[in-house]
């Protein structure tokens, strides 16, 4: 059986430039070795905070970005070499209200993309009618998109992504900017897709959304998958241990790593099964004011970290 999606050690580095006169280049590792497999018909979730690398991962899978290293296959086709084959079989929808021709009606938008996706002329009309029905836009399709609300645009997007009846559907934060009722309907639509036997890869910021919809979830953070499993398994992991986050100042990574493995800390290390991390921030060697510290810690409260989170700061001298 060919897997619907297979990612093998995917990596992607971006080079960002800053400065106006003295340009400096910096490499950002957005995705650092992500591997996962999605079976046909499965609804797979990528859950993670802003900047975790979800969109970058999806864009590599839908052939919009070439991986820096690693491989990925969609329905057995390589995303770098079999571009045409992959594109024909996948649908892609992102959240937000861009990606539509404002000056055209909803119907014309769908007609345009039907042509680009090579939907046979004979089937177009029927297909568009069905999809408008599915996303609840029947009756509004003649209006220009510029007059659509955000939710309507989002639904039109979904219809657009499904025009060519793709086998694998990529949804990047589809519930962004949609009210709770709309989001619930959207989730129902997505669940319906799975019932039709489609494979879906969904990214989201919301644990509950992933929990409700997905067969399996991978939690991604800073470009790495930190946990993977069914929603039940993940919840089990989270309540199993504590998350210890130690922030250090003014010592090297090696020393931190050595400490992390030292026996003295072992009990607390092993107890925090899901994610126990230690890092040094050499960028700010001087102790920062408590409030700033707190804020920077607050940011590290990541998706998937525990209900019982404890964090403390170990003074340098105790190391």
């Amino acid at each position: 059986m060919t897997l619907a999606v297979e990612a093998i050690d995917l990596r992607r580095t971006f080079t960002s430039r800053s400065g106006t006169f003295r340009r400096t280049r910096k490499d950002v590792e957005a995705v650092k070795g992500v591997s996962f497999e999605i079976a046909p018909g499965e609804l797979f979730g990528l859950l993670g905070p802003n900047g975790a690398g979800k969109t970058t991962t999806i864009k590599m899978l839908i052939t919009l970005l070439i991986p820096t290293s690693g491989r990925a296959n969609v329905l057995g086709h390589d995303v770098v070499h079999d571009v045409r084959e992959v594109r024909r079989r996948i649908g892609y929808v992102f959240g937000g209200d861009r990606g539509l021709y404002e000056r055209l009606s909803g119907l014309d938008n769908l007609r345009y993309f039907s042509e680009l996706y090579g939907v046979p002329p004979r089937e177009q009309k029927k297909r568009i009618g069905e999809l408008l029905e599915l996303v609840g836009l029947t009756g509004r399709e003649g209006e220009r998109v510029e007059g659509y609300s955000r939710g309507m645009r989002q639904r039109l997007h979904i219809a657009r992504g499904l025009l060519h009846d793709p086998d694998v559907f990529f949804l990047d934060e589809p519930s962004i900017g949609i009210d709770p009722v709309g989001a619930r309907e959207l989730r129902a639509t997505i669940a319906g897709l799975r019932e039709q036997g489609k494979t879906v890869l969904l990214t989201t910021h919301y644990m509950f959304e992933a929990d409700e919809l997905c067969d399996r979830i991978a939690v991604i953070r800073s470009g790495e998958i930190v946990a993977e499993g069914t929603p039940a398994e993940l919840k089990g992991l989270v309540s199993a241990g504590r998350v210890l986050e130690v922030e250090t100042y003014g010592i090297g990574d090696e020393a931190v790593a050595a400490r992390a493995q030292s026996a003295a800390y072992a009990p607390s290390w092993s107890r925090s099964a899901a994610s126990c991390r230690c890092w040094s921030s050499r960028a700010s060697p001087a102790p920062r004011s408590p409030s700033r510290c707190w804020r920077s810690w607050g940011r590290r409260v990541s998706v998937g970290s525990a209900t019982a989170t404890r964090r403390w700061r170990t003074p340098m001298s105790s190391w």
């Binding site: 919009l64 045409r84 594109r87 024909r88 892609y92 539509l100 000056r103 055209l104 657009r160």
Partner: protein, 256 residues
């Protein structure tokens, strides 16, 4: 067959987008006429009817050039801004076939401006076009329109990789009037600029229009124009593939 249908439907929908705004429509209608008026008023001082015909034909071509270089060079940038660039790139249809109907839609608008300018010339300045060879004249108008659109298309493709490259199109608007010899004879240009003029397909199309009007053979001019125009298209198609691959590799700027 399916491809043809695709081109036609996409052309029609893109044409709808272009026709949509009354403000833009207004400038597309009025700008070419204003430029033509200015040029003809200058030429009228001489009181030479032949010069008036020269300027009248040039002004018509100038209208297409003006209404199209800028809008065609912003084409890709417009898609990027709407967020549709990555969607059309991710579609199985080759990128150049996505852009081609858009270019044709722009050319159609350009064609309008030629006709409007010719009528305007006739109505306001009494320049009755004494065209010796109508079919060739019409053919050269069509070629001028299409090649100008293709030239814009070529410039536009570079915006896949360079976000602000459309500025080049805007900057070319006025030099183009001179370089293509719309209202000033090419002989007046310094020699160094000649090769540039010759590489611009509209130069040949306008020469063709003038030759057809004068009853001379336009075959040579149109043949060159017919070779240069498709060369733009081929170059743009090739460049499009290269630049999209560069964008997929470097992501600067991202397609979204």
């Amino acid at each position: 067959m399916t491809r043809l249908r695709q081109l036609v439907v996409c052309f029609w929908l893109q044409f709808k987008i272009l026709l949509f705004s009354p403000f833009e429509g207004f400038s597309a209608v009025v700008f070419p006429l204003m430029f033509a008026t200015a040029a003809l008023l200058v030429y009228r001082v001489n009181g030479d009817p032949e010069a008036m015909l020269y300027a009248g034909i040039g002004a018509a071509a100038m209208g297409i050039w003006t209404s199209q270089t800028v809008s065609a060079t912003t084409l890709v940038q417009r898609e990027r801004r709407a967020g549709t660039l990555e969607l059309v790139v991710a579609a199985p249809t080759p990128f150049s076939l996505v852009l081609l109907p858009i270019t044709c839609a722009m050319a159609t608008i350009g064609l309008y401006s030629v006709l409007a300018t010719i009528l305007w010339d006739w109505w306001l300045f009494d320049i009755a076009l004494h065209i010796e060879n109508w079919p060739v004249f019409v053919l050269s108008i069509l070629m001028a329109t299409v090649t100008i659109a293709l030239f814009g298309f070529l410039l536009s493709v570079s915006a896949v990789r360079y976000r602000t490259s459309w500025a080049l199109g805007a900057a070319l608007e006025y030099p183009g009037w001179l370089l293509c010899g719309f209202v000033v004879p090419l002989d007046l240009l310094p020699d160094v600029l000649r090769p540039i003029s010759r590489a611009l397909a509209p130069t040949w199309a306008v020469e063709g229009m003038r030759a057809a009007a004068a009853g001379k053979s336009a075959r040579g001019d149109l043949a060159i124009c017919g070779a240069v125009g498709p060369a733009y298209a081929a170059l743009a198609g090739w460049l499009g593939v290269r630049l999209i691959n560069a964008a997929r590799r470097d992501a600067t700027p991202a397609l979204s």
